[in-house]
Symmetry: C2
Subunit: 657 residues, 2 copies
């Protein structure tokens, strides 16, 4: 249209850019890097794999500047020849709340189904398909597991990081030593020696996170060891474009044949238009792990021995083992070309401590990802659990650093919010290795009617484990940030125990439901109201009397309206759902605080899905829940018990007078 | 996992990057820019607004290099203070097939509903809401219209362009003159004079596209004029964060009050966390249009006169008019700040010709977008129809340039594929201005029981027009690339006439349906199988006898299998749907050509949605359809009439021996 007069504000010009996440407020004094003296940081991250990058990205988005935050990595660039490849539904949910899931949604391989193949009784068959089940059994915003090159996941995070950080990851920088020295500088007690582009230097930081992999130098410097069994398994893995007549090559598959076992992982499409397939085979041999991974360091093997073992495993050997297990079907690399292959050894181990504190009990050094737990890749967990370690830690760290965490009491521990990282993630790591040990052993074993383990048992193990492996069934234990409901029966605001299906449960992530927004009739996902911006959300499931004067919902909303200004501005957001009401209504018919605080977060919870039923809330009585910055429910309460919400929030967030 | 030996191909390293669209094959001789002589191109695009950028992006993705393709624009950067803001469902579908819809899906305002407000009989009310209808009535992959800053749409396209083009748009470059001169160089007959960064130069090109806006210099140089009425309307438009108690401020709204009319367009959220609103008001005055837009150039007004008119329209005037029309509700800019405002004049005009040919009848110069049609912005059409002009032209141009179009016959026109751009898009432009004239007039008029037009009539006009305004109801007429079925009754492969709801119809876009992929059980959209990569697709809706020997489906697929190698490699892709079949089946039970040609494009057409019913195809008989590179159905045929498919394809694509 031919405009002939036009006026605009300056800020309008910026609107051509993608949106930025709003930083969190900072109540602590601004960080001012001292010049001349030691180089100092508030947080230093070692390692820019999935765990380190996720933490770096989150802290940058939450508002830490390059002055305050440094991430170093010894490698010169993002991982080129990746190892992990699976992205779980829960990880996808998190990526979605960060606005970085699109490329995975559009271009990764989506695994919807898991096919089980087992020895056949029929003579001409050798193996037969015994079942096809859904890959993801837990309800989730994403009904599939995605597979894509780990290097690509890292590149996606790093690209987003560079919108918030000018420096990005400091590469070619190797950690040499970490120690805690409170005497010289109690505020920046962590002393870090590193070699950056060949030059050695020492910096200080308030907090350090070791996300530097299975051979973590941070872990070793802190005197921590992984605990677990003393023998490892050896596995071969190969990526190829498969030329095969095996019918289920595009489904995830577990093949147990008299000749051995193979796991099939379909992978993404590549530029030739063809599709990759990953195969895992188990090498029937156990070996002693490397010395740095054993609790008792004396029995480990040296690098030279590892080099010896290497020669036993070859590309042809892996391919032959796969081909044998898949008979009578054939499989070979298309045009004889293999995309990538590797051999690796693995056991299930976890570090007993994820946190090292200073003499005053302040959590100073953290380890995350492979640095604190190692396990096999077959359940597709590695990258996911590692990133979720960071996702759990990031908001706690920024609340501590920005002065948003409650001030410590005289008697309690000084940093309970930070301490909950250990409480929550160690439990998950332990579950992970327990599951992996069971699943790996089952997978390595032969099956069939004449063997120990039936295929029904294997399938059953997969199904039971799915809540865990999808990431959707994770449940954190009671702590400062998870307060369980001790009410019973009719006093409880939530009915039901099928938490995996969405029943509100402190310690579990809020399940996504589709809702209809009142203001504009938009069909939305409730997860779109809980973006990963570091905010707490009070979710008010209003009761059916919402339109009445002096309704319990109205009273609850009034109380929340008075409560929210007691906390730092913008740190708590309100989301309101309503059940099916008896009549049409206008804004004027509603408690005023809904439009003021939640105009664009006020939804019909029954028009698209029955959110009340899914969450286990009686529409006649409603409920309140607090959703933590990482999307996990912290507490649930009755509508008439806003005090419970307030008490919970005071345990997580400092108040302002 | 600690890998201890690892081998990978070099190509693997590139897999960290997003996927690139595969270029089309080129059968014509490679383009070699002659050095020393004139600078030459195969395609030169004038204007990098939505139409020019879309064309530039498509041609780059199809494979034209910076040597062959040049896009110039007089502005120094992408549009900062945008005018258009609406993105229609059909445009979103196209963006999705290009992989560039994500930011709009995630961050634009989604308009789901349209509220109608009209004079109220009740004394205390003045106006009342008379209806809320869905903004998008036609079935589409997207159930909403998106609104977002035009500059952002341009930035999204330019960002993607820069993945394929090193140069991108050549900015600060003004077109001075275009003429056709076949005598000096018949192969590059279009002579272009331009001023680039202050320096004048002359280049030659095979083809030129004028996407240079309503005052198009290309159009003027080619002696084309817009035709239409000789008086324009004046409108005021304002973007603001609204402080209002009007209940429907987040819905698209048409308010007809005794005091005047306002159209409300909700806009995207901005960095403050607040939401923009756009208001359109009609200034009750008509004016004479600018001289370059009139068919008879003598009556136009000069720039000085335009400047005079400008003074009559002010920010306060627009706001006051909106406030008057919205009474008894109040509306004012939050904190007194207006984001942007403008006044513009508009009439409905269209150029009778979109193509200028050389003396041999070869289409050489094209105009697209506002250069060939102007109209009001109120139906949110401008940016959409402009981009769709380019989407229609791009594949025809590349087929011509790459030697993929059929060789011309002695008797027919030399470039029928290119000529169909005029046939198809002129019809749409004419429909656009007809609709806009009707809709604008209705909108400008007052309403109510005592006035001429009832609100029911206005609503009815909106509903009738929705197929058109959503972009989903566009139907191209018969041509080389649209061949209508002349079969009747039981001979026709398709039953039904409700084409807007998806019944297969040559000239209409293939409606998206959700399908279940056989190979991996993935839940897919059929639109994901028709990405905008410039390929034709044969869609085979197999019949229920698919599993029988000598089924009609099997015979059809055999014929297609023999037909496809007659055309250049990779230019035609096969998609196969099957209806609900009587038994489970394996790949071995199917015609071999399905796995060979469509392993990952073979779907259950009844598991998620009933594609057969939606497309009007009897599962007992099946059907064939050809989908053009732009997603429009070119022809439909019975399963036993593969010859019809072949004949159609031969009209669009050259054969190879």
């Amino acid at each position: 249209m031919p405009v002939f007069t036009e006026h605009s504000t300056a800020s309008r010009n910026l609107r051509v850019l993608p949106s930025f996440a709003p930083p969190l407020p900072r109540l602590s004094p601004p960080f001012e890097p001292q010049s001349g003296l030691d180089e100092k940081y508030e947080v230093l991250i070692v390692g820019a794999g999935p765990a380190g990058l996720m933490l770096n990205l989150l802290l940058s988005r939450y508002g830490l500047s390059d002055d305050s935050l440094l991430c170093i990595d010894s490698k010169p660039s993002t991982l080129k020849s990746g190892q992990a490849d699976g992205v779980q539904p829960r990880t996808l949910e998190v990526f979605k709340t960060l606005g970085i899931s699109d490329e995975i949604e559009n271009e990764a391989c989506h695994m919807w189904q898991f096919a089980f193949w087992n020895p056949s009784d029929k003579k001409d068959k050798i193996i037969e398909r015994t079942a096809v089940v859904s890959e993801v059994l837990a309800p989730s915003r994403f009904g599939y597991e995605a597979t894509i090159h780990q290097g690509r996941i890292e590149r996606i995070m790093e690209t987003d990081l560079l919108r918030y950080s000018k420096r990005g990851v400091l590469r070619n920088t190797r950690l040499i030593d970490v120690r805690i020295d409170e005497e010289s500088d109690a505020e920046f007690p962590v002393v870090v020696t590193m070699n950056t582009n060949g030059e050695e230097k020492v910096v200080r930081t308030k907090h350090l996170v070791g996300a530097d992999g299975a051979h973590s130098i941070v872990r070793q410097c802190m005197g921590l060891r992984l605990e677990g069994e003393s023998l490892d398994h050896i596995w071969g893995v190969i990526d190829l474009v498969a030329d095969t007549d095996f019918p289920d090559i595009r489904r995830r598959g577990a093949i147990h044949s008299p000749a051995g076992s193979v796991m099939i992982i379909p992978r993404e499409r590549i530029s030739t238009g063809e599709y990759l397939t990953r195969l895992y085979v188990h090498v029937p041999e156990t070996v002693v792990p490397d010395s740095d991974q054993l609790l008792d360091g004396t029995n480990g093997v040296k690098a030279e021995d590892a080099r010896q073992r290497r020669s036993k495993i070859t590309q042809d050997g892996i391919l032959q083992q796969a081909a044998d297990a898949m008979k009578p079907y054939y499989i070979r690399p298309k045009d004889g070309v293999v995309d990538w292959w590797a051999a690796y050894q693995i056991g299930q181990r976890v570090s007993p401590e994820f946190i090292v504190k200073d003499s005053k009990g302040v959590a100073r050094v953290f380890i995350a990802g492979d640095a604190c737990h190692t396990h096999s890749p077959k359940a597709g967990q590695g990258m996911n659990v590692s990133m979720m370690d960071s996702y759990n830690l990031a908001w706690k760290l920024i609340y501590h650093i920005n002065g948003l965490a409650p001030e410590s009491t005289a008697t309690g521990p000084p940093t309970p919010l930070l301490d909950s990282y250990q409480t929550e993630r160690h439990k998950i790591a332990q579950q992970l290795i327990d599951f992996d040990r069971k699943f790996s052993t089952m997978f390595s074993g032969k099956m069939g009617a004449t063997e120990g383990l039936t295929q029904e048992e294997f399938q059953q193990a997969f199904k039971l484990g799915n809540g865990f492996t999808s990431g959707c069934g994770v449940e954190y234990p009671e702590s400062t940030v998870v307060v369980h409901d001790d009410l019973e029966g009719s006093m409880s605001p939530v009915k039901g125990t099928d938490y995996l299906s969405g029943i509100l449960r402190p310690g579990r992530r809020l399940l996504d439901v589709r809702v209809l927004r009142y203001a504009d009739g938009a069909q939305r996902h409730i997860h779109d109201d809980i973006p990963s911006t570091g905010r707490f959300r009070i979710l008010c499931l209003a009761s059916m009397d919402l339109l009445d004067r002096q309704s319990i919902s109205g009273q609850a909303l009034d109380s929340l309206d008075r409560l929210m200004p007691n906390f730092p501005a913008s740190v708590i957001e309100l989301i309101v759902l309503h059940p099916k009401l008896r009549r049409e209504f206008e804004w004027d018919d509603l408690p005023a605080c809904i439009k003021q605080r939640a105009e664009m977060r006020f939804h019909d919870g029954s028009a698209l899905e029955n959110a009340y039923a899914i969450y286990g809330v009686d529409p006649a009585r409603g409920a309140l829940a607090v959703v933590r910055p990482d999307g996990y429910v912290g507490v649930v309460a009755r509508l008439d018990d806003v005090a419970r919400v307030e008490e919970y929030l005071k345990g997580c967030i400092r108040t302002v007078s």
